[in-house]
Symmetry: C2
Subunit: 343 residues, 2 copies
DNA sequence: TGTCGTTGCTAATTCGCATTATCACTGGCT
DNA sequence: AGCCAGTGATAATGCGAATTAGCAACGACA
């Protein structure tokens, strides 16, 4: 039975009980047998006996104090970490991060104390606690350039999950190669006979949006149409596509693809016979559907894992602070991309 | 790469930059204006300016060493926090915790560094870092009594999410009243005319299991049958129920209810016409279904929220350490409980 | 007899921060 | 001049463990 630890047992207590010095206790505990520390078996056993009898455990905090790292990995998300509204978008990233942190023996600190102003968090505010952690991972669709610039300027060790444009220096990240994956799906559509294709979605704002549009343009040509979705009802978007005699729509956001499919079903438009629909990634908003969309998936778990690894490498000096890494997306065959009618 | 020795900023650094002593920095930070420490506004501002510019944050470990508050809330889960296999069971709890932590201005520390041995984590291991946090929330279906006993013995401030049996003292918790909710659904079934009812599931092991079985027995009588599921194929369970001419099955685990329904569909057994199925809570394992089960839901988000609140109250001395709280479950009408045939 | 090497241990220091005790200086008063 | 009170800061200390430097005792050897 461990005693009612009113005051925590320290090495000094053990030392007193075993009639040795605190140093000796520490040496015995760490099993040091260098030339500088020779403890005869007799003394060792005496110390170990007291430790066993008292149930002494070294204070991990004091222990970490001397090493200069807290083994705390910060995780900053621009929205709530556990949202009910974003379709568990963060979940796979976090699963990867947790998995890696566990292997490295790190704890995860979620910066929930950061105040949410107008629906979004901010890294820098009057009482930013970033530096509690040894380093930090950044999650979020869009991260303001000025915050990134400040992180770089302050030389705070961080890695972004998701590609970010440089901001006063290269931003370290582990991202997904949306451009390449989008290009590939477009090429696939062309191989099937599609000629009239369109990009559906913002295509701007976040890097991930811009990357997809860029990949689309690279494969489909610079004049291929871009249909924005902002605040437009899916039916209207569908009309635009049909009016332009588009045969394959490349939809940036899976939730928009679902909405488009729903609108099509309502209108009696057959997907994919009348219109192929390609989903360029995973849902960042909740979207229920039974449709197995063609397109690609974002390697979210792997991104989380590799970002964590990269941060660890940066912290231990094994990697440059500005390292950037793009992972390939996982292509999904799906059922919504077929050859266009009459080909 | 010239890696700029990413060493942590200390009060000494701030002191040097502001041309004061480390003591002064500490005094400014802790806003001490005792008679013993009078810092004129001018000096204060100079120090604060440097702190703001550098984003300095006190080392949480060093802070804790001197028995201060960290505004860090520990979260210990007995399985992975972000599992792919447990059907996001933790997610709503964490959403509630995050929500509350955000309001309190606390950060969340997930103890992912705890080593996983044979699929489960352990609180107490050679390098336990519990004390980094001010207090801790405990999540998990089953928590070993010895670990709870030790937490209590060491007087570590914690609150369990989910009811736990006393372990060397009352275990502080915010749980769900499974017993009452189960009783209510059983009574509802009896009111509909059911007489042959059975409890399906372990009914033992975790407190939550035992509570449900207890609630079931309280309403259905002590001799009402209990059909275990451990390692038995759903079809076999279904057979057992049908052989015993059961008209309503109260299934502890929603995933088991789904499996049972699938087995029934395959067999041509109509649910709920031939057999009513009541789900006693939410899925702890992933289970895809379109069925809207009758039964109840666990107020997971509210549990997380209230557990956080309770821990905060304990830490600030406004609540007794052993406080226990049970929340009512949310009854779900659903479509799988109807009057039995021929009544 | 002095020097060296070995053995067995400990005093002192360090980490980052909070706290306590102390110090230097100024101005007013006797 | 001498004393005290008030002001503005700092040196010193401690938390618990790890690490470094070093000391005392004892033989062996020249």
């Amino acid at each position: 039975m461990p005693d009612k630890a009113a005051t925590r047992l320290t090495q000094r207590d053990i030392a007193r009980l075993a009639k040795v010095s605190q140093t000796t206790v520490s040496l015995v505990l760490n099993n040091r047998s260098d030339a500088t520390a020779r403890i005869p078996a007799e003394t060792r056993d005496r110390v170990l006996k007291v430790i066993r009898e008292t149930g002494y455990q070294a204070d991990p905090l004091a222990r970490r104090m001397l090493k200069q790292r807290n083994q705390i990995l910060g995780v900053f998300t621009y929205e709530s970490v556990f949202p009910s509204s974003s379709g568990d978008f963060y979940h796979p990233f976090l699963a990867g991060i947790e998995d890696c942190a566990e292997r490295l023996g790190w704890d995860l600190l979620l910066f929930t104390s950061a105040p949410v102003t107008s629906g979004r968090r901010q890294i820098f505010h009057e009482n930013n606690r970033l530096r509690i952690a040894d380093g930090c991972l950044l999650l979020g669709r869009h991260i303001p350039a000025d915050e990134l610039a400040r992180l770089i300027a302050e030389e705070y060790p961080f890695v972004s999950v998701g590609r970010r444009d440089d901001a006063g220096g290269p931003v370290p990240y582990v991202g997904a190669d949306y451009a390449a994956a989008t290009s590939t799906t477009v090429e696939k559509a062309f191989a099937l006979g599609h000629r009239r294709v369109a990009f559906v979605g913002p295509g701007t704002g976040a890097e991930s949006s811009a990357d997809r549009l860029r990949g689309f343009r690279r494969a489909a040509g610079n004049r291929a149409p871009h249909v924005p979705t902002a605040d437009r009802p899916p039916a209207e978007v569908l009309d635009t596509l049909l009016d332009a005699r588009i045969t394959a729509a490349f939809v940036e956001e899976r939730a928009d693809a679902v909405a488009l499919a729903d609108a099509a079903a309502e209108r009696g438009v057959d997907i994919p016979v009348d219109l192929s629909v390609v989903a360029l990634g995973d849902a960042t908003r909740p979207a229920a559907t039974g449709i197995d969309f063609s397109g690609f998936h974002v390697p979210r778990q792997e991104m989380g894992r590799q970002a964590t690894e990269l941060l660890e490498a940066v912290l231990s000096g094994r990697a440059a602070a500005g390292t950037q890494r793009l992972l390939p997306c996982e292509l999904a065959e799906g059922t919504t991309l077929i050859a266009p009618k009459g080909s």
